[in-house]
């Protein structure tokens, strides 16, 4: 099958390949050691020049910074921008625009190659102004680019961008959904009108991600939608609505949570109990104690942790349950008492 002649022919090839791969590995290692040393030195110079320019508000950018290669400029600018805020951040961004980094990044966002668009969007997220180049990236075919557009919008929210983020919450790719949800939570109050508008017009499990965001922001503007969705057919929706009440508070929320404490589904009762605990509604203590003694495990545990969150009145109930109730209730109460902090696991 394989003759000695064939091996004689192949062997020099393998030998050559081995020798060249060894040489290439050594050359690459030597190059990287030199390159890293060089980059390290250049970065130090660039950072020093940049810090001086930013802190003295110098009109002219230092020559040593201008002479740096593009990648060093980007790294120095990005590193500094991540560590400063306010006037200094604006100054870093102005320098980035002056030295052409912003223009280059904007042009990258129009590239045919997704990796370039992503790199451009990442530079603009840290250094970019309120650019119009990002808006199309919300609809980019590459999920990472869409997610980056969401991150960019976090610190530059306006009506159109928030609307795009609300749409992105329903993206096919989980990472885009994560990025949009995270962005809306960080934006907070300015995102409320768009979220309320959307929540008012949807029902069923499609409301779940927006209810989570509403629970994270906790604006009273969500009350109407939450009240409606607390009567939804789907138990997950009712449970998430309970989380929104926990974030909003107020009489109507408490009233609805007490109603949900008698819901037919244990998960909903557990969510309601947790919410009452978060609101520290001590008047609910006897009701929560009743849940611990009569309900299913998930609701019992949630009610026990909720009682602990109520402080002294709740703890009195818990100790009474440990002494006087059956093993299941006593175990739930003991676990809540022993937990290192009030409220139980997240």
């Amino acid at each position: 099958v394989i003759s000695t002649e064939f091996l004689r022919w192949v062997l020099p090839l393998i030998g050559g390949l081995l020798l060249s791969s060894v040489l290439l590995t050594l050359a690459r290692a030597a190059f990287l050691i030199w390159y890293n040393h060089q980059t390290h030195r250049r970065l130090a110079v660039a950072r020093r020049a940049l810090v001086v320019a930013v802190s003295t508000e110098a009109v002219d950018i230092p020559q040593e910074f201008l002479a740096m290669p593009f990648r060093v400029k980007v790294r120095a600018l990005v590193d500094l921008a991540r560590g400063v805020t306010g006037i200094e951040l604006r100054r870093v961004r102005a320098i980035a625009a002056q030295v052409g980094v912003v223009a280059a990044a904007e042009s990258m966002t129009r590239s045919r190659l997704w990796a370039k668009r992503l790199y451009g969007a990442r530079i603009l997220t840290v250094l970019g102004p309120d650019s119009t180049h990002i808006a199309p990236l919300f609809y980019d075919p590459e999920p990472l680019v869409r997610a980056q557009a969401a991150e960019w919008a976090t610190t530059r929210p306006d009506e159109a961008r928030i609307a795009s983020l609300v749409l992105l919450v329903y993206d096919d790719v989980a990472f885009c959904r994560f990025s949009a949800t995270d962005a809306l939570l960080r934006i907070g109050t300015p995102a409320v009108p768009a979220l309320v508008e959307r929540l008012d017009n949807i029902s069923g499990i499609i409301a779940l991600p927006l209810l989570d965001i509403a629970a994270g922001i906790g604006s009273p503007a969500f009350l109407t939608a939450a009240l409606r969705l607390s009567k939804a057919y789907e138990p997950e929706v009712r449970a998430r609505a309970a989380n929104v009440f926990a974030a909003i508070g107020g009489e109507q929320s408490i009233h609805t949570l007490l109603r949900l404490l008698s819901d037919e589904v244990p998960d909903v009762r557990a969510a309601a109990a947790r919410a009452l605990g978060r609101l520290e509604h001590w008047k609910a203590a006897p009701r929560l104690a009743e849940v611990i003694q009569t309900d299913e495990k998930i609701a019992r545990r949630a009610a026990a942790h909720a009682l602990r969150a109520l402080g002294a009145p709740g703890e009195l109930f818990l100790r009474k349950i440990v002494r006087e109730s059956d093993a299941e209730a006593a175990n739930a109460a003991r676990e809540a008492i022993d937990y290192p902090y009030a409220g139980g696991p997240a």
Partner: protein, 476 residues
């Protein structure tokens, strides 16, 4: 009259031809893995260029991660290990240390060091385990939970952790593994990216020759001793080109027990870690992937993420290494035997038609084929069935090709992370890569054969692992 000499000659030549064909197929597959690993690395570097992970670090919507660290007689290193886990850069983190019936003072050390107090925990017995003696919490570290249980082995300890974990994801690890501070932020990416991922593994690298302080590697180096040196090359090859390459060729089957992230719900759904298996990590991954096809018909994804790094101490003596390799091969055999119905079964798609057959034919049978080939070669030479020039040339070819693959892995490391900062470390790596195939490789064949033999005899013991301790030996 039958000419037995001639018969033996024919058999030997046919055998050598079969082995040659095997050699060509296997090495072609390795070449394919190298190419796919290179492509995957290129994509990975593109995806992570200028990436910021601050969102993952402090977002309210990142999944909660529970670290599961089983400990058995870890008195000397347990404090440092727990401290390094508690300081990992991931906000939504819980650490569960499971003291698996240690005979030394592991538990006392933890109680003293972290001010642990016994607490009552209402357990959910989702997975059957050995009884728990007590659960402890620390007032100073509310996210630390220490479980003291009756000894039941690593799989049992991890199952206890799974029962008690509050995280959406659980990270299984060895108590003596040093995880880089930002590794979880990197490892969590696949789970953020798609709901189909059930497991992800990071890179395990060898800390021998490096300097560690406070549970972190502060100075990376290549050891001068041959055994750990060879293992560095082996690990780089296994992770940087083996597992990375599989990302593109049908998904991974192995997530290292020393550092792997899993979706808790999915692990519990398949019954957790298998008791009585010495290859519990691979067995779990196979079960997870198998269940995807059986329950939903949709393959569940298992990713290898190259940039989260965990450091482990490799055995420095041949005796301890032999025990480790024997156990690994028994684990592989046991897992493949338990799931033998998957092989060449089109119902399981690429898992049944490519991945499992590869592990059967290449990973499991390789030592057998290699041993038979070597033996046949020696006998063939002795009786004159194979001529010397052919044997020498073939040996050089096999050696050269193996060395090329190893060197290519080093090159891939150079093009991706280039962690080694000193030229002498690169030279040492090349030296170990060139020498690995002479002697060391043949020894690993022997150890793996012993593992197979023990598997056929039904042995499931782990064998003691002796470690010098990275911190103790090298702390500055």
């Amino acid at each position: 009259m039958i000419d037995w000499g001639h018969v033996a000659q024919v058999i030997l030549v046919d055998l050598e031809i079969a082995i040659l064909i095997y050699f060509v197929i296997v090495n072609s597959f390795y070449a394919l893995l190298l190419v796919t690993a290179g492509l995957e690395m290129r994509d990975h570097l593109r995806r992570t260029r200028a990436e910021t992970r601050w969102r993952v670090l402090n977002s309210r919507v990142t999944p909660r991660i529970t670290m599961l660290a089983p400990a058995y007689n870890e008195e000397a290193t347990v404090t440092e290990s727990v401290r390094s886990l508690l300081t990992l850069h991931y906000a939504r983190l819980e650490v569960i240390l499971i003291n698996d019936g240690s005979k030394d003072r592991t538990l006392d050390v933890l109680i003293g060091e972290f001010g642990l107090k016994p607490v009552f925990v209402e357990q959910e017995f989702l997975l059957n385990t050995q009884p728990i003696r007590a659960v402890y919490r620390s007032a100073g570290h509310p996210n630390l939970l220490v479980v003291d249980k009756v000894n039941g082995g690593k799989a049992d300890a991890l199952n206890v952790g799974l029962n008690l974990a509050s995280g959406d994801l659980v990270c299984a690890m060895d108590a003596d593994t040093l995880i880089e501070p930002d590794a979880l932020q990197r490892m969590v990416r696949p789970f953020l990216f798609s709901d189909d991922y059930v497991a992800a593994g990071g890179t395990i690298r060898i800390a021998n020759g490096s300097t560690a302080r406070a549970g972190r590697i502060i100075d990376l180096g290549v050891p001068r001793q041959a055994i750990p040196g060879f293992q560095i090359v082996e690990y780089l090859r296994a992770f940087l080109f083996g597992r990375l390459g599989w990302n593109k060729l049908g998904g991974n089957l192995v997530i290292s027990g020393a550092f792997g992230l899993f979706r808790r719900e999915a692990v519990i759904a398949v019954g957790g870690y298998a008791h009585g298996s010495v290859g519990e990590d691979m067995e779990l991954v196979l079960k997870l992937r198998r269940r995807g096809y059986e329950v939903s018909g949709v393959p569940r994804e298992v990713a290898f993420v190259p940039d989260p790094v965990a450091w482990t101490e490799a055995p420095e003596s041949a005796r301890v290494l032999a025990r480790q390799r024997d156990r690994w091969h028994r684990g592989l055999a046991d897992t493949l035997w338990r799931h033998r119905s998957l092989a060449f079964n089109p119902k399981y798609g690429v898992l049944g038609m490519v991945v499992v057959p590869y592990f059967f034919i290449v990973e499991l049978l390789a030592p057998v084929v290699e041993a038979v080939g070597l033996l046949g070669l020696l006998i063939g030479l002795a009786i004159g069935a194979i001529n010397y020039p052919f044997a020498i040339l073939f040996f050089l070819l096999a050696y050269g090709y193996g060395a090329v693959l190893s060197i290519m892995t080093l090159l891939l490391e150079g093009f991706s992370y280039h962690r080694y900062a000193r030229m002498r470390d690169h030279v040492m790596l090349i030296v170990w890569a060139l020498l690995e195939n002479i002697g060391y490789r043949q020894l690993t064949v022997w150890w793996r054969l012993k593992g197979l033999w023990k598997f056929f005899r039904g042995r499931t013991d782990w064998g003691a692992m002796e470690r010098r301790g990275i911190n103790k030996a090298k702390a500055t």
